[in-house]
């Protein structure tokens, strides 16, 4: 029974954006109260500079033992991906078929590294692509996919890239804060991070260099960020990012509980709808993400119906949620177009509760049963 009353809201779209962590809010409020341009020589400027260096350390720490000096602050994951792919100035750029649009769009002539039906990069194809052409190359493969949560074998990719003297860039926007990320383990030369996916503010991100790399700047002007990124630093943003990174590192074990919630959600779905498919279930996945398809019920229909019930999920990447058209990620995995068109993304976060999962399941099973009975009546008629 649906009742007309103050509606409970369940936010299950964490891969689009996460709420601000209180630690981040506190750090930002504090920084907003003692403004100053970090490049100014006077006291206020120097205090601002210190805040930035502390944030660099927290972010380097979240990635294991990287050098804080390698953290370059930018306006977000999209800009970081651009800086990596364009700034490295490699003649060849190879990107996986499931990358985020902010990687795919950067170099129009980029070569595509295919993925298998399991969503994982085909390692021997990558090896062959790199062997076939000896020009200096950059390989860009994301750590974990935003739509499916599938985790790539990044250490192996790094080894292949290294063998061919190629640079390896890894978009870790979705993985950071959800998995324990040690830069040594990824082996990437360049790592993209976004603050608003880990409980920091939007409008700030970083490109992290794990070793000295000559990067041509994307934005030119003042000499900020060691001449790699001009523009007055977004000081509260950086402070919030640093605080969020520190909190995320501290609370990484929360994701064990999130994984349990997610697994239970998938089991319940399978019980309600035996024909439901969890995409990428065969591959290693993020603990918080489910891409669920029920053939015959369009994703948009599900998203809208759930929204009316106060449950927020998405039909894929947020940035393209205004667009129609099939997901390039699912197409690359050779998912049947009918299944792809009926796939919704449910993504959880550190404060997701059992009540929210129950709310989702209630609303989802209601919509599922209604659609099914409509379909059966139509068949009978």
């Amino acid at each position: 029974m649906r009742r007309m009353m103050a509606q409970a809201e369940s936010y299950l779209d964490w891969n689009a954006t996460a709420p601000l962590r209180p630690e981040a809010a506190a750090a930002m409020t504090e920084t907003l109260g003692r403004w100053g341009n970090p490049s100014s020589v006077h006291r206020r400027g120097r205090a601002a500079r210190q805040t930035i260096e502390r944030a660099r350390e927290a972010i380097a720490a979240l990635l294991g033992d990287t050098d804080p000096g390698g953290v370059v602050f930018v306006s977000g994951g999209t800009e970081a991906n651009h800086l990596a792919l364009l700034g490295a100035c490699r003649e060849r750029v190879l990107v996986s078929a499931v990358e985020h649009d902010s990687v795919r769009a950067v170099v129009p002539t980029a070569e595509i590294i295919p993925v298998g039906p399991d969503g994982l990069v085909t390692l021997d194809l990558l090896d062959r692509l790199l062997s076939a052409d000896r020009r200096p190359a950059l390989v860009s493969v994301m750590y974990a996919n935003n739509e499916t949560g599938i985790i790539q074998p990044v250490a192996k990719i790094a080894a292949i890239a290294r063998r061919h003297d190629a640079l390896f860039h890894c978009d870790a926007v979705q993985a950071a804060g959800k998995l324990s990320l040690e830069a040594g383990a990824i082996g990437a030369d360049l790592i993209t991070m976004s603050a608003h996916k880990i409980g920091g503010p939007s409008g700030i991100g970083a490109l992290v260099m794990t070793r000295q790399i000559d990067l041509a700047p994307l934005l030119r002007g003042g000499g900020q960020e060691y001449r790699r990124r001009a523009g007055t630093e977004n000081l509260p943003g950086i402070a919030g990012f640093g605080a969020a990174a520190a909190a995320a590192a501290r609370e990484i074990s929360v994701y064990d509980r999130v994984a349990e919630l997610r697994d239970r959600l998938e089991m319940e779905i399978a019980a309600i709808a035996p024909e439901a498919v969890v995409l990428g279930a065969a591959a290693p996945r993020l603990p918080n993400t489910s891409a669920i398809a029920v053939p015959g019920i369009a994703a948009e229909t599900q998203v809208v119906a759930l929204d009316l019930d106060g449950v927020m999920v998405s039909a894929g990447a947020a940035c393209s949620s205004g667009k129609v058209g099939p997901s390039h990620v699912l197409a690359a995995m050779q998912v049947d177009p009918e299944i792809a068109a009926s796939t919704i993304r449910v993504s959880l976060g550190w404060s997701s509760s059992e009540a929210e999962i129950a709310h989702f399941l209630r609303a989802w099973s209601f919509l599922y049963r209604r659609r099914r009975s409509v379909a059966e009546r139509a068949r009978a008629a």
């Binding site: 206020r44 939007s202 934005l219 007055t232 943003g237 927020m312 940035c319």
Partner: protein, 411 residues
């Protein structure tokens, strides 16, 4: 007289009086977030944290509505249409996008076979404009760096003479970050439009402080900054004219946000902050300008009376109300700044304040290096009080006389 030797740092740190925050007179570098702006922003950090591009659910739609409202507030302040505003990470990105984006589009799509590969910028533009131009030179574009008059203003005759059939874009800063002068924007627009030349203005310092009208001034592209107008850092905007249409290639591509011109998740609280800052600046501009002008003129009169040889750099009449650039002959600017730790002032652009080079802007005005190195920038702002200005004048005048005496003691 040896008793007046100044020991700058050690003595200061043990003096509790100077550990109170210094008086902030560096408002060209950045400004304090107005509490009203902060108040508008806060709910979008906490309650309304949805991704504004996730329009399939309520969280996303609330954020998207807030951003559209902010876009309208920014547009209204310059008489533009909201659809002409693209949010960026700041004025540096807006300048890079305007100049490189226009150049790259023109090269990719020559108009009726007509090649436009020439850019005109003033020698005194902000570094991010000059560096963008330099990058384009490397790609085969021709750039003319126009000199300015000794008062910092562009000569319209010199500008007109620089324009040719190949000129694609003219970039002139609306109000200057170091010397505060305001360029004749309407006259420049009138020179550009009939020739089919795009007019870009870096209005990071001018937006929200002086009246700007993209229609009357025939401006095609305008860069805007949040943190220079009591809004947050990390956000800015580029005004891109729709009629006649200005086309750009994006610098940052991907999710296709901002009509494909600037991908990346929009920071809702920052956009809201920029919008609110613009909405506050509009109705308060006239009164605030008048107040700042009075304070500034008072400060200048006070200092001129007490500091022999004091010189104002840049046109006095046509300048931002809160802005001064002053030369104190024979007193190196950094020495003076160190001698007045109770005031936060700078030598010029914050981006280059760590470098020891004399300002290229003051050089372009024809100042000899010795004088350029003896120049400081003072920026009064919304939260500057008359008492603070008086205190600053006293502190500066006292420091100058101390330093002059010291200098005059034969060693």
């Amino acid at each position: 007289m040896t008793s007046i030797v100044i020991e700058p740092r050690p003595r200061l740190s043990s003096d509790p009086a100077v550990n109170t925050p210094p008086i902030y007179l560096d408002n060209q570098s950045t400004t304090q977030v107005d509490p009203r702006v902060l108040e508008a922003m806060l709910p979008y950090f906490t309650e309304h944290y949805g991704n504004p591009h996730s329009t399939s659910h309520a969280y996303g739609r609330i954020a998207a509505d807030a951003i559209e409202n902010a876009r309208g507030e920014v547009a209204a302040l310059i008489h533009a249409d909201p659809r002409e505003i693209v949010f960026t990470s700041g004025a540096t990105e807006a300048n890079n996008l305007a100049i490189k984006g226009a150049a790259h589009f023109a090269r990719a799509h020559p108009h009726h076979g007509q090649v436009r590969d020439h850019i005109v910028a003033l020698q005194t533009e902000h570094k991010c404009v000059l560096e963008s131009c330099k990058e384009l030179e490397g790609e085969g574009f021709a750039v003319t760096y126009l000199p300015v008059e000794p008062n910092g203003l562009v000569s319209l005759d010199v500008l007109e003479a620089a324009l040719s059939e190949r000129t694609l874009l003219v970039s002139v800063m609306a109000a200057h970050n170091e010397i505060g002068v305001i360029q004749p924007l309407a006259e420049i627009g009138a020179l550009c439009r009939p020739r089919g030349v795009l007019f870009h203005t870096d209005a990071a310092q001018a937006f929200g402080k002086i009246q700007l009208d993209v229609q009357a001034m025939k401006i095609d592209l305008m860069s805007i900054s949040g943190h220079k107008i009591y809004g947050p850092k990390g956000v800015g905007a580029l005004y891109i004219r729709r009629r006649p249409r200005v086309r750009l290639l994006p610098l940052i591509d991907g999710g296709g946000q901002e009509r494909g011109l600037r991908s990346g998740t929009l920071p809702t609280p920052l956009c809201v902050g920029l919008g609110r800052a613009a909405a506050i600046a509009g109705p308060e501009m006239v009164e605030e300008s008048e107040r700042l002008r009075r304070l500034r003129d008072g400060l200048l009169r006070n200092l001129a009376r007490r500091v022999p040889g004091l010189r104002v750099n840049g046109e006095v009449e046509q300048r931002l109300p809160g802005s001064l650039n002053l030369s104190f002959p024979e007193i190196p600017a950094l020495t003076l700044i160190e001698a007045v730790p109770s005031i936060a002032i700078s030598t010029g652009s914050a981006c280059t304040s760590a470098s020891a080079e004399p300002s290229y802007v003051l050089r372009a005005l024809g100042l000899p290096d010795a004088l350029a190195n003896a120049s400081i920038r003072i920026g009064l702002g919304r939260f500057t009080t008359a008492a603070e200005v008086d205190f600053a004048a006293d502190a500066l005048a006292a420091a100058v006389s101390r330093l002059t005496e010291q200098r005059d003691i034969p060693t």
